[in-house]
């Protein structure tokens, strides 16, 4: 069934999603929005892992397993990131990353 989809197209979709995520990380100012854009980039990477393991790798399980690890790390990252954002919100009642300049002089 999937012979009709060339690998290039899958990789292109993943690249585009990653690029959009990159734009989000660079242009957003809300800390939670930056976390969301990072999630987008991780998702795009997972598409690549799965596509390559399906099309190219001799062992089709490898890419899927690495994707599982990426998802694990992403879940941990969101939990910690949101905890930090909540604590910042309690202290500054604001989560704009421009205002977080305590360490700047």
């Amino acid at each position: 069934m999937i012979e009709a989809i060339p690998l290039d197209h899958v990789v292109l979709v993943a690249t585009t999603l990653f690029g959009i995520g990159l734009y989000g990380v660079l242009s957003r100012r809300n800390a939670v929005a930056i976390l969301m854009a990072i999630e987008l980039m991780l998702n795009a990477v997972n598409i690549n892992f799965i596509a390559f393991s399906m099309y190219v790798s001799p062992d089709p399980t490898v890419g899927q397993i690495i994707a599982v690890f990426v998802i694990t790390v992403a879940a941990a990252e969101v939990a910690l990131g949101l905890a930090i954002v909540l604590q910042i919100f309690r202290n500054k009642s604001n989560i704009n990353v421009d205002d977080l300049d305590l360490l700047r002089w």
């Binding site: 009709a4 989809i5 899958v10 690249t15 100012r29 854009a37 598409i47 599982v68 910690l80």
Partner: protein, 168 residues
Amino acid sequence: MNFAAVLFYAFSAIAIVAALGTVLARNIVYAALSLVGTMVMIAGIFFILHADFLALVQLLIYAGAVGVLLIFGLMLTNTGQPATGPKDRWQRPIAFVAAMAFILVAGYAAVSTDWMQGVVPQLERVPPAVLASSLFRNWALPFEIASLVLLVAMIGAIVISRRETSND
């Protein structure tokens, strides 16, 4: 063009539109909801690429847990301010150029490389049992480390987000 290919291109198009919504929407909750849309569409792409288990893990963890956590975070930190202030105007064009540069360079590399050279594509559905035995035999150590990472993250999140109590 067969059914799977049509579905793939449809899912990809929706995923990209929703991803644009994620980074461009002014209303931050709309951004979060379109992120969830992207994640569901990516789960669909996994399904088409014969990674059933991963598709459902994607739905369970990303769309189910991570998405809701992000929306919770937004609800709890809602200050009523617009998502973007006047300070970041100059950053947008630079971000756009960087993202476009990445897409063009990586996209060119993806298209111009002959990935399939000397490879016979497998394109087979991997049963969950095969995936599991590979995960628990060849990848046992990384698996244990991943569980440790999750444990540390869980404890860390609880410690960080706990309110400081004055009675100690």
